[in-house]
C-alpha cells in the first residue's frame, strides 16, 4: 500500500514539478530552471482557452449522453429482466470492452466516412450527417464509455428494493414522480460515479479526436503533441494539470453537494 501511494502520488508530484521547467528549444534537453513560463503561455494565449472550453464541453456532452442512455438500460436490466437474462445482459454490456478500442474507433471512422453507413441510413430522411468533427468525436466517445456508466447505475438500481417502488405507487405517485423523487435520489451517487469515469476518460482522450475529429483537437492533443511532436515534456506536464484540476474541482463540488454521503 505504502509503495503504491509513493509510486502513484510521487509520479504526480514529479509531473507537477516538471511543469515549472523548460526545454532547450534546439536540443530538446530539459532545463531544470524554475519558472512560470509554461503557465504564462497556457493562460495568456487564447487558443488554449478555446481548446480547454471545447474539451470541457465535449466531456459534459459525453457524460449527459451516456447518462440518458444508461439510465433506461440499467433500469430495464435491474427491474424488468429475470435473473438469468440479467447476467446475460451484463455480459452483453461488457462484451464491447473486450474488443480493441482502436478497432471500435476505426469502425466509427468508416461509418462517418462519405458513402459510409450513416450517410446511407439517413439518406431517405434527407439528412446529411456531419462528417468527421466534434459531433463524431462526441458520439464515438459516448459509445466507448457507455459501459462505464451503465454498470454503476445498474449496481445502484439493484440495491433499490422493489417494495419502495410499489409503496410509491400505492401512495398515489405517478410513474414520473416515482422516477424523480424515489429512483433518481437513490441512484444519484451511482450516476456521479459513472460520470467520473466518462468525464475523466473523455478529458484524457486524444486518439478518438485524431481518428474521427477531422481537423479538431482537444486538450489531451496539446499534451500529446508536446510530448510526441515537440518533445516539450514540461509544457505537456503543465497542460496535463488542466484535466487533473478539473476532476479535482468536480470531486470537490460533488462532495460539497453531499451526493456521496451514503455511497
Amino acid at each position: 500500500m505504502f509503495w503504491l501511494v509513493v509510486a502513484y502520488l510521487g509520479s504526480l508530484a514529479t509531473m507537477f514539478a516538471s511543469a515549472f521547467w523548460t526545454v532547450d528549444s534546439f536540443t530538446g534537453n530539459i532545463v531544470r530552471h524554475f519558472n512560470f513560463g509554461n503557465f504564462q503561455i497556457l493562460f495568456t494565449q487564447s487558443v488554449y482557452r478555446v481548446i480547454a472550453v471545447r474539451s470541457l464541453t465535449v466531456a459534459v456532452l459525453v457524460t449527459l449522453f451516456d447518462a440518458l442512455i444508461a439510465i433506461p438500460i440499467a433500469f430495464f436490466m435491474a427491474k424488468v429482466l429475470s435473473q438469468r437474462l440479467r447476467n446475460f445482459a451484463i455480459v452483453i454490456i461488457i462484451l464491447p470492452l473486450w474488443a480493441s478500442y482502436l478497432v471500435k474507433t476505426y469502425a466509427w471512422r468508416t461509418m462517418f466516412s462519405d458513402g459510409g453507413v450513416l450517410v446511407w441510413l439517413l439518406k431517405p430522411f434527407h439528412i446529411n450527417p456531419p462528417g468527421y468533427g466534434l459531433f463524431a468525436t462526441t458520439l464515438t466517445l459516448a459509445y466507448l464509455w457507455l459501459p462505464y456508466m451503465i454498470l454503476p447505475i445498474y449496481a445502484g438500481l439493484e440495491r433499490l428494493p422493489d417494495s419502495l417502488l410499489e409503496a410509491s405507487s400505492d401512495l398515489g405517485a405517478s410513474a414520473g414522480k416515482t422516477f424523480r423523487q424515489v429512483i433518481i435520489p437513490i441512484i444519484y451517487p451511482s450516476i456521479i460515479a459513472g460520470s467520473l469515469f466518462t468525464f475523466s476518460l473523455t478529458l484524457g482522450d486524444y486518439i478518438v479526436v485524431k481518428i474521427v475529429g477531422g481537423k479538431s483537437q482537444l486538450m489531451a492533443n496539446v499534451v500529446y503533441d508536446n510530448v510526441g511532436t515537440a518533445g516539450n515534456l514540461p509544457f505537456a506536464a503543465a497542460a496535463a494539470l488542466f484535466p487533473i484540476a478539473t476532476i479535482l474541482g468536480y470531486l470537490y463540488f460533488v462532495r460539497r453537494s453531499g451526493a456521496l454521503e451514503n455511497f
Partner: protein, 396 residues
C-alpha cells in the same frame, strides 16, 4: 483513518524530497555546440542483436510481402537479431532515441540536427562502411547529416512530398500548391494537410514562390514577418481542410472513402493507393517545387550493439538492399549502384535518383533554429518550439 493520514504525511514528505532533488539537479541551458561523442575507429564482431527506430517500411522481414525481406538475410549474414520499432513522426523518433535503448535510427533532416546537438547520436566513421564510397555525392556532407565536415550517419534515400489528387474528380489536374491553399477551392472540406509543425514549411515554400516581396529564401528560415504571413495562410487553409493526417494509413483510407480529394502525401501512400485500385490517384511535384525528406541512418551515442549497427548501415546502403527498400517505400535510393538492381528498370529515372538538379529543387526537412538557416544574421528566425506552438494555434 489515522493510518491513512500518516500515509499522506509520508507521501507529501517524499514528494517534497523529489522536488528538492529536482532543484539540486538544476543545470544551466546548454549552448548550441556539438557535444563531444567518441567515434568508432575499429569494428569487432557483431553483438548478436540490434534495436533500431525506423520509418514504416525501412526494415521489412517479409511479414507484409514475402518478396520484401532484407532483415532475415541480414540476420543470417551477421548474426544480429533485428528488433525494429516504427516511429510515426520525426518528433516521435527523437523522443524514442532520447529514451535510450536503441542502437540507431533512420532520421529525417528535421530530426538529425536535434539528435546531433542533443548528444544522442555519435559521429560515423565512414571508412568502416565500404558501401559508403558509392553513395550519391550530392547527399554527402550536407547541412542535415554532418557538422563541420564530419558525417553523423549514412544517407539512406530521399524523396519529395507530392501533391496527390483524385484524378476522376479533381479536374483540371492541379499544377501548383495553390490548389490546397485557395480559400475558394471547389474542393472545400475535401482537402488534407500533414499534421505536423514541419508542414508550416510547405506553406512557406508556396509563399516563397508566389509572394517574392516577403523575401523568403529558405522555407525553414522564417523571421517574424515571414512567419506571421505563413501562419496566416495556414489559418485560411484550415477553413478548406477536411482533416489533417499524421499516419499514412489514415491518409490512404481517407482517399479511398473519397473524404479526401487532394492534398499533400508521400509517394508511399500513392503507391499503396495505386495498388489497391479503389480510387484513381495522381501525384505530382508542383511547379513551386516541394518539401521532401532525406533520411540518414545514425548510430546512438550509447549504442549497446555498435558493431551490429555499423553492419546494418553498410547493409542497408548496399546496392541490392538499397534498391529493394527504395522500391518498397517509393523513394530514391542513395546508393548510385542500386539503379541496376531495381525490379522496375525505369525506377531510377522516374524517381530522378541520380539527378542532382532535380534533388536541388526539393527543400529537405530541416530543423528550424533561431539562427537563420539561410545565413541572415541581422534577424532571428523562429525556432522549432515556436513552430510547434504555432501549429497548435493554427489548428485552433
Amino acid at each position: 483513518m489515522l493510518r491513512s493520514k500518516r500515509l499522506i504525511a509520508v507521501t507529501s514528505a517524499a514528494s517534497a524530497a523529489l522536488l528538492i532533488m529536482a532543484g539540486v539537479a538544476a543545470t544551466a541551458s546548454s549552448a548550441a555546440s556539438v557535444p563531444k561523442v567518441p567515434m568508432a575507429s575499429t569494428l569487432g564482431k557483431g553483438e548478436g542483436a540490434l534495436n533500431i527506430v525506423i520509418w514504416a517500411g525501412y526494415a521489412e522481414n517479409g511479414s507484409n510481402d514475402k518478396t520484401a525481406d532484407w532483415v532475415h538475410p541480414f540476420e543470417k549474414a551477421t548474426g544480429c537479431k533485428v528488433n525494429a520499432k516504427v516511429g510515426n513522426t520525426s518528433d516521435e523518433m527523437v523522443t524514442l532515441m532520447k529514451s535510450g535503448g536503441y542502437d540507431g535510427v533512420s532520421a529525417s533532416g528535421d530530426a538529425t540536427l536535434r539528435l546531433i546537438y542533443g548528444g544522442v547520436v555519435a559521429p560515423v566513421n565512414t571508412s568502416l562502411i565500404p558501401n559508403y564510397a558509392t553513395v550519391s555525392s550530392f547527399l554527402k556532407n550536407k547541412g542535415w547529416n554532418s557538422v563541420g565536415g564530419q558525417m553523423y550517419g549514412v544517407p539512406h534515400g530521399w524523396g519529395a512530398n507530392v501533391l496527390a489528387y483524385n484524378t476522376s474528380v479533381v479536374k483540371p489536374a492541379p499544377t501548383s500548391w495553390g490548389a490546397v491553399f485557395d480559400a475558394n477551392s471547389p474542393y472545400k472540406g475535401k482537402i488534407t494537410a500533414y499534421d505536423s509543425p514541419i508542414y508550416i514549411a510547405d506553406a512557406a515554400l508556396y509563399l516563397m514562390k508566389t509572394k517574392p516581396s516577403l523575401g523568403i529564401k529558405n522555407p525553414y528560415a522564417l523571421d517574424n514577418t515571414q512567419f506571421n504571413a505563413v501562419v496566416a495562410l495556414l489559418k485560411t487553409q484550415k477553413n478548406i481542410v477536411g482533416e489533417y493526417w499524421s499516419d499514412a494509413s489514415k491518409s490512404i483510407q481517407s482517399f479511398e472513402s473519397k473524404n479526401t480529394l487532394l492534398g499533400t502525401a508521400w509517394q508511399y501512400n500513392v503507391n499503396v493507393l495505386t495498388s489497391d485500385k479503389k480510387v484513381k490517384v495522381g501525384a505530382i511535384v508542383p511547379k513551386e517545387g516541394s518539401t521532401g525528406w532525406s533520411d540518414t541512418w545514425m548510430i546512438a551515442a550509447k549504442a549497446a550493439h555498435p558493431n551490429c549497427m555499423y553492419k546494418w548501415m553498410n547493409w542497408i546502403i548496399s546496392p541490392k538492399v538499397n534498391a529493394q527498400v527504395a522500391e518498397w517505400f517509393g523513394e530514391s535510393p542513395s546508393q548510385t549502384k542500386s539503379c541496376s538492381f531495381t525490379a522496375d528498370k525505369n525506377f531510377c529515372t522516374s524517381y530522378h535518383a541520380t539527378d542532382a538538379a532535380y534533388a536541388k529543387n526539393i527543400y529537405y526537412w530541416t530543423t528550424p533554429t533561431s539562427a537563420c538557416l539561410d545565413g541572415r544574421t541581422n534577424v532571428t528566425c523562429k525556432d522549432y518550439a515556436a513552430w510547434t506552438q504555432a501549429w497548435t494555434t493554427i489548428k485552433g
